[in-house]
């Protein structure tokens, strides 16, 4: 089990998102009126420190997945900056970005669509090594892939098999092996356990923890299961309609939520205990009735704990 890292400076952040915005649509099309622009990510700023796990929660469509993808430059931000290891990544060309790609990876939610069905899982895990010219010798590469398989708890003899022969949990392990193949510093985990069977989720959560302890990884852990977030994360950011409404240390958020949406979210978690669950009364929060004013800003409400106040 990991020793709790103290989150006090002088540590410099590994990742900084500075006023990120991502707008979809809104462009003028040749025929017909232009579609209204959707602000999927709206003025989002946060920092992630080395070795830390930042949880990102919110309803579907809140922009949490888009934030993760923009952070890794899988989608270009409309405005704002991404600073990774002190270097601004926004606007870099594909070739200038490539060396940074070794350092940051993503694990997706659906282990069924995140593997190429026509590629053996061994080839799939080896691909980042090939792309970055690491272990160019075939037998050396094979050894490295086998080592990666063992590290994520898969039998290396499975390397020559195709994805359809694996269960969801095993597929997710394959994705994780590929994710850590180049020894990245930072991993975006986009709902990595949501699609898995309940009896498998704990396995994958433990694997994430073990890899963090072993490799010193930094995670952005996107999820909607708040109890897992509490278990896994040092800090949490809550997103609503493209904006961060609250961010802070896990315990501060869970014990003392400030934004009404965070309060609603926390009160809605079903608790696997009939006695508590029967008496739980969720707090309602209607987003449509309470739109976030564009001018609202995050204010400090506690140590390292910020909330949108308006």
């Amino acid at each position: 089990m990991s020793v709790e890292r103290t989150m006090t400076p002088p540590q410099k952040p590994l990742v900084i998102a500075n006023r990120l915005c991502k707008t979809f649509g809104g462009g003028r099309s040749l025929l017909g009126p232009s579609a209204p622009a959707l602000k999927a990510v709206n003025d989002v700023s946060f920092e992630i420190f080395p070795g830390e796990t930042l949880g990102l929660v919110g309803e579907s469509g809140s922009g949490k997945s888009t934030t993760g993808r923009v952070l890794l430059q899988l989608e270009e931000p409309t405005s704002g900056d991404i600073i990774f290891k002190g270097q601004n990544l926004t606007g870099l060309s594909k070739s200038l970005l490539k060396p940074h790609r070794r350092d940051m990876q993503i694990i997706f939610q659906d282990p069924y669509s995140s593997l190429n069905p026509r590629m053996t899982v061994g080839e799939f895990v080896a691909e980042p090594l090939i792309v970055h010219g690491v272990a160019t010798n075939k037998s050396e590469r094979n050894d490295r892939v086998a080592a990666l398989f063992r590290k994520v708890g898969l039998d290396p003899s499975f390397m020559t098999r195709y994805p359809h022969e694996f269960s969801g949990g095993q597929r997710q392990r394959v994705c994780i092996a590929r994710g850590i193949a180049l020894d990245p510093a930072f991993i975006v985990a986009d709902e990595p356990i949501t699609a898995l069977d309940v009896s498998i989720q704990a396995q994958i959560v433990n694997l994430f923890q073990d890899l963090q302890d072993e490799l010193g990884l930094t995670y952005l852990f996107i999820a909607h299961d708040l109890s897992m977030i509490r278990y896994l994360c040092h800090r949490v950011a809550v997103m609503l309609r493209g904006r961060i409404v609250e961010i802070g240390p896990c315990e501060a958020i869970f014990e003392n939520p400030q934004h009404p949406y965070t309060q609603a979210l926390l009160s809605a978690i079903p608790i696997p205990d009939p006695k508590i669950e029967r008496n739980r009364r969720p707090i309602a929060f209607d987003v449509n009735a309470n739109p976030i004013p564009e001018a609202a800003t995050l204010r400090t409400v506690g140590e390292g704990h910020l909330a949108l106040v308006y």
Partner: protein
């Protein structure tokens, strides 16, 4: 009083190119009128397939009901004709499925879709049906119901669509409502509202509910009885409080133990059930959970344990085990 629904020895298989998938193996249980049964299981546990097959909603072929009887109000549903089933579904047994986007027809207005079973089963006029649709939408908490009935499914949000699905499910005041992962695709805040709605409906109409889910938390809050399924079999069943407090199947125990339970970072490591879900293509032999069960005995691998009343527990608490979990756990504790 006779139970509302009684399932006896239901076995369902699917004939696929890769082999015969044994989806439901010898499942028997009853549900009383007004009871809420929460069925918990993962994919491949048979929880959805058994519910769909008892009202003729699985494709045959590849599906095949090998054996079993399903008595609903004294009639064996498996012996009914398609026509009789059609009369029954919607009217006596309502359904709510996981994905409202694929279960609603995108080119029909919401009014048409809710009114269809009403007009079919009760011969309502168009205006009568409309009044009832408005009433139902108000009941499930859709604001401005009268204005919204002419809208199409895509004009509703995910949570609102699921409410529409529930409105369809309860439109004919069914005796039994079967919900299959009905809140899985929804956000937790919306899920909480839907669960509240279901509790209200039970109170108001005394509807009997089968709530199928993978979420222990949902079952804890909603169900009177919990039934845990795995590998096409019932592993354990009993009053929710009893089963959550004192599980007797290693699978139930493992599931409960693997949840974080409000645990904070850096506390204990999560308990993990080892291994992978069973391959249902193999002929089911023994306890399906045995290969992943640290407490399994030699007998578990060879022989399928029957679902039996747990000795010394409350009546109705049944488990399919060859071992005594409490003893095993005590021994394990002593070792540590």
């Amino acid at each position: 009083m006779a139970p509302l629904l009684e399932i006896r020895n239901l076995t369902v298989v699917f004939d696929t190119p890769a082999g015969t998938v044994h989806a439901v193996n010898d499942v028997s249980y009853t549900i009383e009128e007004g009871e809420t049964l929460g069925i918990v299981g993962e994919s491949g546990s048979g929880k959805s397939v058994h519910a769909l097959s008892m009202v003729g909603l699985i494709a045959r072929p590849p599906g095949r009901i090998v054996s079993g009887e399903v008595y609903f109000k004294g009639r064996d549903l498996l012996k009914l004709s398609q026509r009789e089933l059609l009369d029954l579904r919607g009217k006596e047994i309502g359904f709510v499925f996981q994905d409202p986007m694929t279960s609603l027809n995108p080119v029909l207005t919401v009014e048409r879709q809710i009114a269809e079973p009403l007009r079919r089963h009760f011969n309502l006029s168009k205006n009568q049906a409309r009044e009832r649709v408005v009433e139902l939408l108000e009941l499930v908490g859709i604001p401005n119901a009268r204005e919204r009935i002419g809208q199409y499914p895509h004009e509703f949000s995910g949570g609102m669509r699921q409410r529409v699905m529930i409105a369809i499910g309860i439109s004919c005041n069914p005796k039994l409502l079967i919900a299959d992962e009905a809140t899985t695709a929804l956000d937790v805040t919306v899920q909480a509202q839907i669960l509240d709605l279901v509790r209200d409906l039970k109170k108001k109409f005394g509807t009997t509910v089968i709530w199928i889910t993978h979420d222990m938390g949902v079952v804890a809050g909603l169900a009177d009885t919990i039934q845990v399924m795995y590998g096409g079999r019932i592993m354990e069943r009993g009053p929710v409080d009893t089963v959550f407090e004192d599980p007797r199947s290693a699978y139930t125990w493992g599931l409960l133990k693997s949840l974080p339970h409000g645990g904070k970072r850096g506390t204990t490591r999560l308990y993990q059930i080892p291994g992978n879900p069973p391959n249902l293509i193999n002929e089911p032999i023994g306890d399906p959970f045995a290969p992943r069960n640290a407490f399994a005995t030699e007998r578990c691998l060879r022989e399928t344990p029957p679902l039996q009343q747990v000795e010394g527990s409350v009546p109705g608490h049944k488990a399919a085990v060859w071992y005594d979990l409490r003893e095993k756990l005590k021994k394990q504790e002593a070792k540590v």
